[in-house]
Symmetry: D2
Subunit: 166 residues, 4 copies
């Protein structure tokens, strides 16, 4: 479809280190720079950093909020979806995304990585997040490590080429 | 928020008359013309008509699909959300919208009207859809009839003024 | 399946009249007496009345709660499902039920009637609830009025005979 | 509440080894023997094994199915909930359970472990499943290894003592 936009999901903790905040900001900037939409959980930390990066680069940010109020969204979300589904909203971040980039985070982030792999979506993961390869034979075509923002967005976008994923 | 976009939801049958197709197309056009985003179920009939109207007027259309594939969306959806939730996705059309405009439709449309009123959202309804006022004392501040596209979008946008709804 | 239980859903307001409380209590009693499980939203009013009726007749009650805590359930729910999905939990009351009995209620009840009819499930409705036949040509094989508890449960159970519904 | 039943969730692969089938069968038997209800995803493999164990011991099994048809459930499910939510139904297995026992499984099982830990629920895990402790500092009060069926059910039930979890 001429109209259909590529969507890249950003997952990671609502609390984050300064280093990862900067990294997520840069990834958000690249997502916007490549004409893709950024999807996330719409809250603070990693989600806010990436949202701000996309926002500052004239991108579009969609936030799937756990609660029922749009005011829950961080200041850089253009399209706030107050799902009212609680943690079950994680599936929407995953399903809306054509590929995902995972930052360090807690169990919520882990659930999103798991759901994405379950649905056969590429997850590019940054250092410090759940490195599942160490405990199980995870498909390396779907689960790929990146070490900086440019590599992350490159791997995510490359995974969509020639694919029915979009 | 400077970034937050107003979202107007369009609900109505996946099959529709030529007259309602034209009406929904015009409403979609007005939504885009007013700088709002159009949310809908992403499929055919009323949803497609309104999507095309917004698309043709350089708007942005978000479609909450019942299935798990983005290809299910009509050709005018920019942001396809393949929820995989089946009919339960109706709640997302309702919750994402700041106000809704209801066209004639079947039980799915009725469920969306009911959910919107339950959540205290304004529903502007076009002739021929479920006229609940005939069977129960529905709050007329929330449930308002419109007779043409311009009146519908006017009532929907007016309902958001001065409100915490956005 | 030898193991599969028939489930009858009860929908209706969280606030109810004394008369409808008694009626819902009797319907709950009959559901248990017929060896069926009662499904409902697990809260007060109509839901509590029917739950108590089933409970007092040694039945089994499943409550799909909007919030995330089992303590939200009324005292007669055996199986509390704290869905955390908010009003979206209505779809679970409907989908789990083989047939539904509708009491007077507000928009939440209306959404459940609409979702049930959308899924082709029989809805037996008691006087005073949303009488959709007055505003649209609703399929009378699915949407049937009952005037007392015994008739209601009779119509609900009869609708399941010979059917793939169970 | 006098009426409220304890619910133990069983999660694990839809395909399973003979050894784990037997183990899950035994766990299901113990769950029923302790008067608890077994919740699971209602399908084959681990879910079927545990369901059969509970069924054979006069227990009660609730299955949260991804699809919309009760016929999808294995033969030992008493209460079939055809959620129609796809993989999003995993949250219902987790939320309905007071504690969970995890068998080896793929990404779906991992998502359930993650969601359970996110909600502060005890997950007793059997050898061969996702051993998250090897890659992150998981709270050992919530995530406990068991080596046989009797130990698993013991740890799960013990975790509920003195708690508001039930």
């Amino acid at each position: 479809m001429a109209s259909r936009k590529t969507i890249i999901g950003i997952i990671g903790g609502a609390e984050t280190s300064q280093e990862n905040y900067r990294l997520a900001y840069d990834v958000g900037k690249y997502i916007a720079g490549n004409g893709a939409i950024l999807a996330c959980g719409g809250l603070s930390g990693t989600m806010e950093a990436a949202s701000k990066g996309a926002f500052d680069n004239s991108g579009c940010v969609i936030g799937f909020l756990p609660g029922g109020e749009k005011s829950e969204a961080n200041a850089y979300v253009h399209i706030a979806i107050p799902t009212g589904l609680g943690i079950a909203r994680n599936i929407l971040v995953v399903r809306s995304s054509d590929a995902l980039i995972a930052f360090p985070g807690s169990y919520g982030t882990l659930s999103e990585i798991a759901l994405a792999l379950n649905l056969g979506k590429t997850v590019v993961y940054m250092p410090g997040t759940w490195d599942l390869k160490k405990i199980a034979p995870v498909d390396s075509a779907l689960f790929k490590e990146a070490f900086d923002a440019s590599q992350a967005i490159g791997l995510a976008l490359n995974s969509l080429k020639g694919g029915g994923a979009i």
